[in-house]
Amino acid sequence: MGKNNKAPRLPMPGKKGAAYYFRRDWQLYLLVFLPMVHLFIFKYLAYSGLSISFLDYKVAKGYFGSKFVGLDIFKKVFTHRNFLPALRNTLLLNVLDLVFSFPMPIILALLLNEVRVKWFKSVSQTMLYLPHFLSWVVIGAVAYQLFGVNNGIINSLIKSGGGEAIPFLQSDGWWLFTYVAIGVWQTMGWGTIIYLAAITNLNPDLYEAAKVDGANRWQQTLHVTLPGIRSTIVVMLIMQLGKIMGGSFERILALSNAAVPKYSTTIPMLVYDWFRANKFSESTALGLFQSVIGVLLVFVSDKFAKRMGEDGLL
């Protein structure tokens, strides 16, 4: 495939028409045809549904029969009594996740790096990765089995130790704790992969030099490994900050229950509740609000990462 300006037998060097490229690369266009059709139908056609956040949408009337109401739906959503709690909870749960789930993989990666016995390292890694592969339903169901007040093994151990049963999943404050703890547990192993890869790429000479200077293992970790993976940590942190308006609906749905609405009412949960109440317009507007903020945050964090001399995400 010669570059187009190197083909002298063609009448017009430089700019070529669409027909030329189509004749030359029709096989490639055929290859992207089906994926693009899929993209158009299932992604871009779906965007048209966003229009109902500006309509007083009734299923029976359809897009065109429903009345255009401008920003009334958004006003209704933003003044709804559940909106601010949902926004607060979304931010709260994500910030707590960031504070507690973020450092754990770094610590574990640094510790795993210190393990010299191969079998122990690979066996414990295999075990640590397990929660990443299971669905949130399974994890939620397991959580109810472990943390139940009457039947949960944790509470029966507490009771046999003479303590009071703790409503891990049934009272608001404890639910928050359990939600965050399960998040830490689920991500701690899988998150180490990126950091372990970064540690592997560090120059072994640095450790040699540190040893010559008399640094012990702890000092090597602190002054060689940790600074070595700092840029990875920064990028991961920025990526997490970009997701602060997101959050998994599947996770919260699997872990929440009717007893703990105080912290478990997040934006995706509210979208689901309103959907079940047939409030399609409100539900769409709320989802759109979350998407837009989410995209803006990703862009801002990408700019941030690039300014710090990193690759960025986009």
Binding site: Y21, L28, P35, G49, V137, I193, V271, F275, V295
Partner: protein
């Protein structure tokens, strides 16, 4: 591979230093440090495995022992009644069947679209490739949201059909990105050029050259699709409302255990109804988790690889 190699260099260096010093204070400190590291990693790793051993023990124990909270890790009074009932329950088996069929078709279709698209987008002189990439990645960062997706499914008359579980998600931008990034680096451009000069069509190059040379990354992406589809349930929660026979396993488990709004079909006409649902629930969790638990030790290295490829440019 390179991860293990360079690790060994570091490790060998470290071992070497320790041996040279002999039995000294620093060596004792080293051993204590090792012990602490092993304990922390061991506790974290066991915390990922023990819940599942506990639930398995519960699922095969006598009901009385479970109710009395006597079962921890070792089954008390072995029985398989719960599993016998699961395999008699038509709705659970049906859910398993739905999940298996959907996962297979979803993965096959997704791989077809992703491979075709990724190959075309890696050709450097493919006019319009950039536009396609931008169009695809835009949908990765800005999603329409679940309600517009739901309305689209409604308009396409796909609600409560097999297709709503297969088609909407079967072409994933993230997986495309992973495959594209990997194809770009792995095969030298000269090979393509000479194949084209020899008169090979793009289809032939894709089939005879690209696919055989990139088996590991193809396995990775296929597993991303398969495990993702197997574990997801929020789309089915929205799309499958009337046809209860089309509920995938994870959704079935959600209704059975997390929401606890349903009981097993076999409960209805059964004479020996178990008084306590705990054993049955434990067995259902194991039933749903076992396929993944069985395969994940073999597939985890592909996931690790894919995660690292994705992290290069996410």
């Amino acid at each position: 591979m390179s991860q293990i190699k360079s690790k060994q260099v570091v490790m060998n260096g470290e071992t070497f230093t320790i041996n040279k010093r002999g039995w000294t204070v620093s060596r004792v400190v080293n051993y204590i440090g090792d012990a602490i590291i092993w304990i922390i990693i061991g506790v974290c790793a066991l915390s990922c495995l023990i819940p599942f051993i506990h639930i398995f023990a519960k699922s095969v124990s006598e009901e009385a022992a479970v109710v009395a909270n006597k079962v921890f890790l070792i089954p008390q009074g072995f029985q398989l009644e719960a599993y016998r009932r699961i395999f008699q329950d038509a709705s659970l088996l049906r859910s398993m069947y739905v999940t298996v069929v959907v996962t297979i078709v979803f993965t096959a279709l997704g791989m077809f679209l992703t491979v075709c698209c990724a190959y075309a987008l890696t050709r450097p002189d493919f006019k319009g490739g950039k536009v396609c990439t931008v169009l695809i990645m835009f949908t990765y960062y800005f999603t329409a949201g679940i309600i517009p997706d739901y309305l689209l499914m409604n308009n396409l008359h796909m609600l409560d059909t097999w297709w709503c579980l297969i088609l909407p998600l079967c072409f994933a931008p993230y997986n495309l990105l992973i495959l594209k990034n990997n194809l770009q680096g792995s095969i030298p451009e000269d090979l393509f050029e000479s194949a084209r000069l020899d008169g090979a069509s793009h289809f032939t190059i894709l089939r005879k050259m690209v696919l055989p040379l990139s088996k590991p990354i193809l396995a990775t992406v296929a597993l991303f699709y398969a495990v993702g589809r197997w574990n997801a349930y929020s789309d089915a929660l929205y799309y499958i409302q009337r046809r209860t026979d089309l509920r995938p396993l994870q959704l079935k488990l959600y209704y059975l255990i997390v929401a606890a709004t349903e009981s097993l079909q076999s409960d209805a006409g059964s004479v020996q109804v178990m008084t306590n649902p705990e054993v049955m629930r434990a067995a259902c969790i194991i039933f749903a988790a076992v396929p993944i638990i069985c395969v994940y030790p073999f597939i985890q290295r592909y996931f690790v690889q894919g995660t690292m490829v994705g992290a290069v440019k996410g």
